[in-house]
Symmetry: C3
Subunit: 267 residues, 3 copies
């Protein structure tokens, strides 16, 4: 599978033309910033978590993004409801297992979601993916990324083989694991000092998956766009505050030429 | 009813002098940005949603803003409690029926709120207002605005006649429907690419209604200020990220002359 | 106790080296901005509020920050659970009693938390602290600061004597009350027009307390850094929108020399 700048651009144009509704059941911290990122790329975000409406909402959506960053019991129930309905309707599901490995509640919720309704794409950092893989992962200290290890890719392979999900392990290099492994080397170190960029990456995976049923490709393209927009934004940002602002501006103004110039695929 | 720049400015000065407390029961996505907009215009925002305290909180408020953007059962209960108390105390109620028409839960919650405790002002986009009007509205795709149609104004008239509420249908032209129809033509297309500007407009309606019991006038002035601040912000914004930032700066720095220069009323 | 610029800088370096996990059970309005402030100073924020996981989460944290800005019953239960576990493990607890005095629910929740599990640091504005002190405080109008009075310092002394907590009364001058009284005179008036700067100050108290068990010192240093970063940000900000952005940038870029130049201690 080859990631081409021209294909990425074509998918962005598809998003802008179709304006897919992306249904997010996500955490409180990032609701505003991920909604803004989805609007900036050209999609239409909606946040809805009530058991009373999630099935009806997901039924009109192009993708469902589930993020366990601030979960609680009623929200977990709604995540399952929405995921089952999405699966029934063949709507792609993206799971962001924020903080898996940090507490049993997060790890088990994520594991249960994956085994009950296997997501199309799972995107997490190395420690989160390791916590979900067949081998017991290292206990993570919160939600920060730890150095990507071979263990994370092994865990990702295990998840992919068992559940068929495309796994994205994000870090300095983002790895997309499916039949192939793709490495995307875009991004900027300052991005780790802005809350919710990981969650935003998952939301963008939803936008790309809504217009492309090749989910490995969709995930790789989303991660590339994420990293490229972050890099361009970092060129002018004075710190993490202006990086967040410039990131949204860049996502909105992104051109085919920006993508062509910045895309860096790992050989 | 005539909308004059000098009157708008006078009301802003009144908000800054009285610093009315605006009690918001709103959605998670926009809590931060609407609180900031209320602070920037000179009001004092508070967010409180617990059944245990909403009646006491609204009792010290100058207006109550109810927004159903991320509702769930307990929040709905609190919305009713707060609305009843506000009505009893003659405190203006502003309702933002986010996503009405997208799911039955949202449509029915909004309809029940309107028929049980008729709001002073209802502000939504065309599809939301149509979903609440006497005629069955078109099913909306999420929360995006669709082209404003005569149907929306008809629905608004119906709501106004039945419940006495001032109805604001926002879009490229914002229509305020009460005994008259006022059209405000301010705003900038990029505003639709920032999450929560509609919700911010509703919050500003709360600030203006807190100092002016002519709710049609208050709604029209709030929509004008919203659009004017958005236009001025768009002059320097590089995209939707910086538009949000510049919007808050502009709202804070707005002058009588800015309003006079930019105000555009539809004939 | 003497507050020295060089000591503040040393503590910031300690935060950056240890990257303490700060567990926040906080309000919806500020989750994004306080997480970003913690990342900018060099700490690692996590937000978690489910009864199922708060004890496990706080057990791996360097500090627990409890903020009652948008509380409800289940959240209150989790605040108690987390606080008890933190106390058991000698992990510092910071309480931000947002809106205490505005409703009985807030006042009583804050009072119960304080008497059941005395926090290491309580940070609030004058009216909030007065509402919690032994004398019945004035009823506050929402969450805005009122002019700091001797009554607030008296209330703070009472709280400190009864519970042993360091009390920080923030305002134009921030007072840190423990055995001594320290006054910090940094900050900028425009900061009061940005939502959540008080909550951010409490979060920063968490970061400093995580690396320094002298909590009075930690609170004073955190308030100084807060005010200094706000002042520097205000030099270039065009309004409250850009002030928030510049504040995060400044926090991230802060140097020993910035602190030395700006620190203003009240004699």
């Amino acid at each position: 599978m080859k990631i081409m700048a021209s294909d990425i651009w074509q998918e962005i144009e598809k998003i802008r033309e179709k304006v897919p509704l992306i249904h997010n059941i996500t955490n409180y911290v990032v609701m505003n910033t991920t909604a803004n990122a989805l609007l900036a790329i050209g999609a239409s975000p909606v946040m809805a978590h009530a058991a009373e409406e999630v099935e009806e909402m997901v039924a009109i959506a192009g993708a469902l993004v589930i993020n366990i960053g601030t979960l609680s019991d009623k929200w977990v129930e709604s995540m399952f409801r929405a995921a089952r309905e999405a699966k029934k309707r063949n709507i792609p599901i993206i799971l962001d297992p924020v903080g898996a490995g940090a507490t049993r509640y997060r790890t088990e919720t994520a594991r249960n979601l994956i085994s009950t309704v296997p997501p199309s794409i799972i995107r997490g950092n190395a420690s989160e993916i390791m916590a979900l893989g067949p081998e017991k992962g290292a206990r993570t200290k919160g939600v920060d990324s730890i150095a990507l290890s071979h263990a994370a890719i092994d865990a990702a392979r295990g998840l992919n083989i068992t559940y068929g999900s495309t796994i994205c392990v994000s870090g300095e290099t983002d790895y997309i694991i499916d039949n192939d492994i793709i490495g995307i080397r875009n991004g900027h170190p300052m991005m780790s000092r802005v809350t919710g960029f990981g969650c935003t990456a998952s939301a963008l995976c939803g936008a790309f998956a809504a217009v492309n049923s090749n989910y490995a490709m969709a995930a790789a393209q989303a991660m590339a766009v994420m990293g490229i927009a972050g890099e361009i934004a970092a060129e002018t940002a004075a710190g993490p505050g202006s990086l967040q602002t410039a990131f949204l501006d860049t996502l909105y103004c992104l051109t085919a030429s920006d993508i062509g110039k910045h895309l860096r695929i790992k050989d």
